[in-house]
Symmetry: C2
Subunit: 284 residues, 2 copies
Amino acid sequence: MDNSDFKGKNILIVGLGLMGCSFADAFRDLYPQKIYGFDINKEITNYAQQKGLIDEGLTKINSAILGECDFVMICLYLDDAVQFICKNMDGFKKGCIITDIVGVKRKIVSSVQEVLRDDIDYIPGHPMAGKERQGFGYADKKIFKGKNYILTPTKFNKSDNVDYLEKIIKAIGFENVVYTDPEKHDEKIAFTSQLCHVIASSMVDINVDDDISNYEGGSFQDMTRIAMINSKMWSELFIANKDKLVNVLDNFLTSIESFKMLIEKEDPKLIDKLDIIKKSRESL
Amino acid sequence: MDNSDFKGKNILIVGLGLMGCSFADAFRDLYPQKIYGFDINKEITNYAQQKGLIDEGLTKINSAILGECDFVMICLYLDDAVQFICKNMDGFKKGCIITDIVGVKRKIVSSVQEVLRDDIDYIPGHPMAGKERQGFGYADKKIFKGKNYILTPTKFNKSDNVDYLEKIIKAIGFENVVYTDPEKHDEKIAFTSQLCHVIASSMVDINVDDDISNYEGGSFQDMTRIAMINSKMWSELFIANKDKLVNVLDNFLTSIESFKMLIEKEDPKLIDKLDIIKKSRESL
C-alpha cells in the first residue's frame, strides 16, 4: 500500500451519519473497487446508495463481506465504535487497516488493544472537522478541506500503514496530520474543543431573551454556534474525558472569577491583564 | 433636517481612531459641506487629512469652528467623551446634534444630561460594529454594513432629529436601528458583548501552549479572536457597567459549575440539558 488512492481496494464505512457519508463522498474520488456502507437504519443505507456515496448498503454485518474489506472506517460514537470493533474482531480481513474518528482516544485505544488480532492494523484517529448540523443529509466532502487530522498510532502499528493512512487523509483534503499519543490528545482536546462546547452551551443556557440578535455585533452568535451540538455524542465524549475536562473547567472558572474580582474592585491591574492576553492571542 | 444626507452641513468627528476614521470615510458619501476631524495626535489628523477622510484636522478645539458644526460625532472612550462634551458645552452651535458611540450608556447619558444646554440635541448611540484591530490604519466604512446600531434617546430629544439620525445611520450601511433606554441597553450589552469578551480573554488566559493550532477544528480560534481587544477601552467599559456585568458573570459561573457537576457525576441529565440548549440556540 504505497499510493494515495484506494485502487483495487474494498472499503467499509461503519455508521452513515454526517461524518461517515462525508468520508464516503471523499473516498469515491480515490478509485476504490467497492465502498460498502453499514448502518442499522435501512433508510440511511438506501439514501447513501441512491446518492452514489456507497455501492452497497448493509444493515447487518455479513462475515463474507467483512472478510473482503481492506480498509474499515468506523464512524460511530465512542461506545458503539468500541463494541463494533470488539464484536467483529474475528471477521476482519487479514492485513486490513481499521481506523476510527472518535473525539477522545484513551478509552477506545485501550479497549480495542485488549482484543486486537496481531494480523490487522488498528490506527486510531480524530479528524478535526464537522458541522453544527448532524445527519447524513448534511454530508459533504468539503468539510475536510484545510483541516487538522490527529493520529495516535501505537507501537503495534506498521509504519507503512500509518504512512499510507496519512496519504489518504491528505488526498481527501485535510491539510495537516498531527501525531501524538492518546493521553496528550485527550488533554489538548479538553481545552481546544470540549471547553469551547461547554462555554457555548452555558452562554445559551443563561440567555433569557429571544430578541438577543438586536443587541449584538456578531460575537454572541459566533461563540454560541457550536452549542447546536449532538447531545448524545458530546455527553459521551465529555464523560469519557472527564478527568481532563474537569481540570480545564476548574482553570477556566478560576480565571473568570479573577476577572470578576478585578472588575468588582475596579482594579487598574485589569488593563495590564487584558494587555498581556491580547499579546498572547496575537502571537497564536 | 429631513434628508438622509449631510448636504450643506458641517460635521465634526471627535477622536480619529478606528471608529472615528471609519465614520469619516462613510460620511464623505453623504455630501457634507466640510468634515472637521479632532484628535490630540497631530500625526493622526495629518494622516486623516492626507487620506481625504477629513477636510481639516484640529488638535485643539477652536470655538469658532465648533460654533459652525451642525453634527458632532464623539468617537472617544467613555471618560474622555464625557469630559469633551461637558468641557465644550458652551461652544456647540445652537440646534446642533451631538451623538456618541460609547459602549455603555447609563454613565455618559446621566453625566451629559446634568450640563446639557436646552438648545442642542444630544442623542446617545452605540454602533454594534468594530474590528479586533485598533487604530485609524484599519478604518473602513465597510465595517458598518448590515450591523445593528442602538440608540437610547431621552425625553429631551426632538423626534425630527432622532428620525434624521436614524436615516443617516442607515445611509452609511447599518441595517437595523434599535431603540431602548440606557438601563436596558447596559443590561443587554453585559450579556451579548461584555460576557463574550471576558470569556475569550479567560480562554487565552488559561492557555499554556503555543502549538494549540495543531489540535483544533476552528472553535478555539473563532471564540478567542475578540480577546485581541483594546485593553484600556474595555476595562473602562467593564468597570462602568460592573453591576450588570458581575451579575451576568455570576450566572455564567453557576452554569459552568452545573455542567462540571453533571460531567463529574456522569449524570445522564447532561444529555437532556444539552438537548434543551441545542433547541434554544436553533430558535435564536
